[in-house]
């Protein structure tokens, strides 16, 4: 409310949109700030928020990665010398870090294609489904809206040594069990995240499918294209901008992996087979008190994501509309 009352006088000064000409002073200000300068005032809290919570910490993270930084009592003046690429050298020479990036690679190779294919197929099927719509929507979206921490509990139970999954698989069950098996730990996490996030990506595709012209399907049908053919030649090109977005967002999600290795595999076990860079950032930065090293891991991670995103855009192509 205080914003409302404070800003009201300013609102009164704003010239009505219809009033043209005659206002010399208004014209000059209009050129400097636009027709409705109050827009800037309304957006100010958000802009301050973005600067304080995103822009500044981003700069700070990069700065930190080039300096020797450690925690100190608040207010204490400490020299934090510039160390050039030392932090990066330390990070790249650390086998744990290299391994964690490899793990994310495995994760992305499984998770991203699975997510794109499943969410597109399910979305186009859901788009045409008539019956049980509510049930189906709830079914596919519920994992997405539930806390990872909550569903991790069930997965631990399901995939434990004598858990239901192994009971069903019988002799086919891997030994040692999924989450404590160094080969299966990461794929199991990738499967978990795919299941967990799919609802969101289905939602994105459902929205994109509304923009695919019905006439294109009719044209394809008159040309003798079957269901499968028109899926490949109408649906897939039609939702390309959404695919670019899904690729990008699922890659970012993968790079941000933390909760799952922390809880599902007890902190990146077995023996670092499922550590993620973010988990290492937490361990190195906060547990072991070297935020500079953690910041360097973060910078490398973002560079990696940018490279992957760039390649994806080149491959998936499509101009975003």
């Amino acid at each position: 409310m205080s914003i409302l009352t404070k800003a009201r006088p300013a609102a009164g000064v704003t010239p009505p949109a219809g009033g043209r000409g005659g206002h010399q002073k208004g014209d000059r200000r209009r050129r400097a700030l636009g027709k409705n300068p109050i827009g800037l005032l309304l957006s100010a809290p958000y802009l301050i928020f973005v600067l304080a919570v995103f822009a500044w910490p981003l700069v700070f993270a990069v700065w930190m990665s080039f300096h020797e930084y450690f925690f100190a009592a608040p207010g204490a003046q400490i020299d934090r010398p510039f160390v050039g690429l030392d932090n990066f050298r330390e990070v790249l020479g650390d086998p744990d870090v290299i391994r964690s990036f490899g793990n994310v690679g495995i994760f992305l190779i499984i998770n991203v294609p699975l997510t794109v294919v499943l969410s597109l197929v399910l979305a186009s099927a859901l788009n045409k489904a008539v019956r049980f719509r509510t049930f189906l929507r709830v079914g596919y979206f519920v994992p997405y809206i539930t806390a990872s921490v909550a569903v991790v509990g069930v997965w631990l139970f399901l995939f434990s040594g004598s858990g239901l999954v192994n009971q069903i698989l019988g002799p086919l069950a891997p030994e040692p069990s999924w989450l404590i098996n160094s080969q299966w730990a990461m794929p199991t996490i990738a499967l978990f995240v795919t299941w967990k996030q799919l609802g969101f990506f289905i939602l994105l595709y459902l929205a994109a499918l509304q923009n695919v012209s019905q006439e294109l399907y009719e044209a394809a049908a008159t040309d003798g294209a079957g269901k499968v053919r028109s899926f490949f030649s109408v649906t897939i090109p039609g939702v390309r901008p959404a695919t670019v977005l899904v690729l990008l967002l699922s890659t970012v999600t993968g790079a941000n992996l933390f909760t799952e290795p922390y809880l599902l595999t007890g902190g990146g076990g077995p023996n670092g087979a499922s550590t993620s860079p973010v988990l290492l950032m937490y361990q190195r930065g906060i547990e072991q008190g070297s935020p500079d090293v953690a910041a360097a891991i973060g910078v490398l991670l973002v560079i990696g994501v940018l490279i992957i995103a760039f390649i994806q855009r080149k491959v998936a192509g499509g101009d975003e509309s």
Binding site: A11, L42, L263, G285
Partner: protein, 289 residues
């Protein structure tokens, strides 16, 4: 449903495919929902029964003890209250400031509008994890906001997705509506309050639901910033229970799953009640009426 028969007539082929698609979708949804069903069953078992038979409720093995067990280790009510304050703060910040920006982006012309919109899009792909360390240094160390609700809320205070949604909704409101009111001499905030807000009420609900699941389910940030058990949201205290004390409980899975049900419950319930609002609602009728 015999495939040979359906091949004869186009109409029947379509129907066969419809049914097949329906069955596949239905089974898929069951697979997706199964862990939730299993979560409830597991939380009610006296002793964990991981066999196939254990997936069906067995009256002899049912109990509410797990809920009391988890409650004696993790203060569920306090956890829910903390989660609620955290989530509520984020929702209030997002709705109040998000409406203001969304309106300014869609209906007003001002210098910096393009940059602001680009920022709102850009912010969504900045990995929070890169910001985690500097934010921790700034908020927990420099501002001393560790174990503090404000420190918890701050990094999430305005949801950028919500800003985009509000903008999208405000774009659909015809500009003439506002121009007419402006000619009548209404100020911008009056316009926003009296005309724009009522028209985007459906967006409000979508935004609240969308924003709710973020902080309610968030683990990493509150985990970093709260060390005191009495300040931890439920997701954090449950995670701590899973990673440390679970091994010492009599029925660790039962207790963990009971806690999981309590954490998942509110989000799932809200979603089921308002699931229609998870898609963009047409506000055309609102404009016409």
């Amino acid at each position: 449903m015999s495939p040979r028969k359906t091949r004869i007539e186009g109409g029947q082929l379509d129907r066969g495919q419809h049914i097949l698609r329906g069955i596949v979708l239905f089974l898929g949804a069951l697979v997706f929902l199964f862990p939730f069903y299993y979560m409830i069953i597991g939380s009610l078992q006296k002793s964990p029964d991981p066999t196939v038979a254990g997936a069906f409720p067995n009256p002899a093995n049912l109990t509410l003890d797990n809920y009391t067990a988890i409650n004696s280790r993790v203060d569920l009510v306090q956890g829910l209250v903390n989660s609620g304050i955290f989530t509520g703060g984020v929702i209030i910040g997002t709705v109040v400031f998000g409406v203001l920006v969304g309106y300014a982006l869609a209906q007003l012309q001002w210098r910096g509008r393009g940059v602001t919109f680009a920022l709102a899009l850009l912010v969504q792909v900045v990995p929070f994890q890169l910001l985690m360390i500097p934010l921790y240094v700034l908020i927990a160390r420099d501002y001393g906001l560790a174990d503090n609700y404000l420190g918890m809320i701050l990094p999430f205070a305005i949801n950028s997705t919500a800003v985009i949604i509000f903008r999208q909704y405000f774009l659909q409101v015809p500009r003439e509506l506002f121009d007419a009111a402006r000619i009548d001499g209404a100020g911008e905030l009056v316009l926003l309050w009296k005309i724009a807000l009522p028209l985007v009420r459906p967006a409000l609900l979508t935004v609240i639901l969308l924003t709710f699941i973020g902080p309610w389910n968030e683990f990493l940030w509150p985990f970093l910033i709260t060390k005191e058990a009495s300040m931890q949201p439920l997701a954090v205290s449950l995670a701590n229970y899973i990673s440390t004390v679970a091994a010492s409980a009599a029925n660790p899975f039962g207790a963990v799953l009971a806690g999981a049900c309590v954490l998942a419950g509110p989000a799932v319930l809200l979603f089921i009640l308002f699931q229609k609002h998870f898609v963009a609602t047409n506000i055309g009728s609102g404009v016409k009426g």
